[in-house]
């Protein structure tokens, strides 16, 4: 079944079952592998993308439900203030969870220019990092807020 949606400003039409998670359409059908698979149950945040600017878990979002909607992935961030802050503080270690972390952080900063520690906790606690980059993620969000 053909489904059309907008990814990073470009319309894409894919022929997949409508119950296919957005995650796998991005990764397998469109070859955009920046969005990661971590848990398949919206528990870890590795698959976070934006749906009309809101952070969502693409592993739990059926492609059929985003027809005609705007999706932004890590490939579409275009070196924003969050990515620059991530570079300035050398946040990533293995880097696997970081696209999801940066998508969550970008959505947070779009809604809240000056997040408190509690705001950061609330927005970022759905994203697991096993390497333990949390101190740098927190500092980088503050750095991005200051420099945006």
């Amino acid at each position: 079944m053909n489904i059309t949606f907008n990814v990073n400003g470009k319309n894409e039409t894919v022929d997949v079952a409508p119950d296919t998670p957005l995650l796998w359409v991005l990764r397998d059908t469109l070859g955009m592998t920046g969005t990661k698979f971590g848990c398949g149950k919206a528990l870890c945040g590795a698959c976070t993308v934006h749906l009309n600017g809101m952070a969502i878990r693409s592993c739990q979002t059926q492609i059929g439900s985003v027809a005609g909607q705007k999706i932004t992935t890590i490939e579409g961030l275009k070196m924003n203030a969050v990515q620059k802050a991530w570079i300035a503080l050398d946040v990533p270690q293995c880097g696997y969870c970081q696209p999801g972390q940066m998508m969550s952080a970008s959505a947070l900063l779009a809604a809240n220019r000056n997040p408190s520690d509690a705001d950061i906790d609330a927005a970022m606690s759905g994203n697991i990092c096993r390497c333990g980059t949390y101190p740098r993620i927190r500092a980088a969000i503050k750095h991005a807020a200051k420099n945006a």
Binding site: K36, C39, C44, Q83, Q93, I128, C129, R130
Partner: protein, 735 residues
Amino acid sequence: MEEIKNQSRRDFVKASAAVAGGLAIGFHLPGKMAQADGGGGYAMPNAWVKIGSDNQITLMVARSEMGQGVATSMPMLIAEELEVDFSKVKVEFAPPAEVYINSLLGGQLTGGSTSVRDAWEKLRKAGASARMMLVSAAAAEWGVDASQVKAENGSLIGPGGKRMNYGMAAPKAAQMEVPKDVPLKPVSAFKVVGNVKQKRIDTPMKVKGDPIFGIDARVPGMMYAAVAMSPYIGGKLKSYDDSRAKNMPGVKAVVQYSRGVAVVADSYWQAKKAKDLLRVEWDQGPNAGLNMQKIWAGIQQAAKQPGATFRESGNVEEAMPKAAKTVTTTYTLPFLSHSPMEPMNTTAQVSADKAIIITPTQFQQLIPHVVAGATGLKPEQVEVRTTYLGGGFGRRVEVDYAIDAAEISKAAGGVPVKMVWSREDDMTHDSYRPAGMYTLSAGLDANGMITGMRFHSTSPSISARLFPSVVKDGIDPFAVEGIDNFPYAVPNLKFTYQMHDTGVTVGYWRAVSHNLNAVALECFIDECAAAAGKDPIDYRLAMIDMAPSKHAWSGLSAGVAVGPRIKNALQMVKEKSGWGKPLGKGKGRGVAVMEGYNTVIAMVAEVTVSPNYDVSVDRVVSVVDAGPLVHPDQALAQMESCINFGQSACMWGEITVNENTVEQNNFDSYRVARINEAPKQLEFHWIKPADNQPPGGLGEPATAVIQPAIANAIAAATGKRAKMLPLTPENLRAS
């Protein structure tokens, strides 16, 4: 070294004997040596340095990049002596080859916090040797003596304004004789190594989502595989019905392989949906009905055995009855899962005469052998490409998932297949950190000092499965690390280890048995300090063994003369942490110290414990003596990383088994730290290295130090000493 001849899944490695100074695993590698001349527009003066005719310098990285920063630190060591602009070099992951073997482990293997330790001299020499060959090539070209040619910033400068870049000299340099005597510059002259401003090479790529992890691999014609593996530990496939699965859209094949049934389809989601429709029957195998009650009963029974003695001095049997006071404790520590964020996966293409294996692995050297064993090919017909690793933590020392993908590709007729495990597959088919029981008893004299001590551990051996030849006389060196180097001066000691297989597959988990032995020890020392009525830091300081002793099983630790370093670190952490200053109600401080991987870490944790026993970690102060740092900012990142990993383990980590099935299968049932739970404040103090002090490892040791520091802080805050990890409210309340 012996060649690996027989590969079975449970014991696929015939390892050589351990050699002095390291735990040599020792493989003979039949594959090609690195080429001296790569052809194709570049030349290689040696296996580490590739120089393009366009003067592009590419440095080979022979360790797996799993977050610890080897893709930056290893090339930094080469570049220091090669005299190139480090900001312009590229890096490439090396294929398996003899030249890339890690001397401390005896295999091309990333683990044991050995990458920098092994590379420290070796890679600087590789850089210097390549530079000398480039200099010789330019000198020959110009007809001058090598002493008249200077290497600087990727260029060779000769007398009278003569100049050529490395790219021009490289083809000739690759033909030059390899210098035998390769002098190195002194530490004081370093420009690249130790640069506090150095950034990671891979960060710009990683913030764009560009790097290729195993799961991102794509090859032409690639199919996707989802798998059904036995939910039972050691279970076997009995039968399966694929009548519904094979008719699902996109499904190309349903195949049986050693571990179960795989559905191969055009996309992962199609494969996964069809896999869910398989009806599979399993034979529970030899562990039928296994559960924690049986596992702990087995461990308790085994613990009654005397075990193998790995350290003994004086006469503990005579000393103990004379003690003024005796402290005895048994700690039990649970199985843990590695759970890196990238689930296990491999892309494999196995045809009649060749296999290509694209995989996130810590042990690329083993893969040709095991894939050959599984497919009937020869090891030299197996090409391994190492990708970025989405975390490793020891899980990817195992090669099970590479074998699986190879078998599936072969069974599916040789099509390239990307096999991706679900999180559930990953968590229930891990090689778990061993569970164990640790009984410690100490005899204290009238002053409270320890005059005799017994340590008896009962736990499974990891090496008995993976590297059986390193196990000797009932002792697995990886089971006694973190206690064999017991740092206190106690005249009468007897330390024993009882190996006991529980049926659960166990594997190397970040810091391995330091996370068992040193955790038990440093909690116990606090218990002794409490029994003696002494301050925990002063008590430790008074007992440090200052003799330059070396112990039989020192393995990857310094093994010798760490007393003064431990004393120094403890004194500094006492001062820096504000030890002794009053804290509020429900708060406490705990200390722990350890030498592991030739790094000494002393740590003080501050916690707040609520009346319901919910624990928050407020502040952690670490003093680190790791010798010279190659990449200081990422040395710091490894400390941050270990603290997070150890915190997750000791506060929530627990894998349990019921009905021969692992009960935790995702991050809802296996809890790990999230950003709101991370310590609020982390402070690090680095001890200035002594002259000629070699680097210590940093990828692992702090995981074992943060755990007793937190447990000791909770005890200080509440008076509750948990004898069982994790430090959950339930376990704390019960203690």
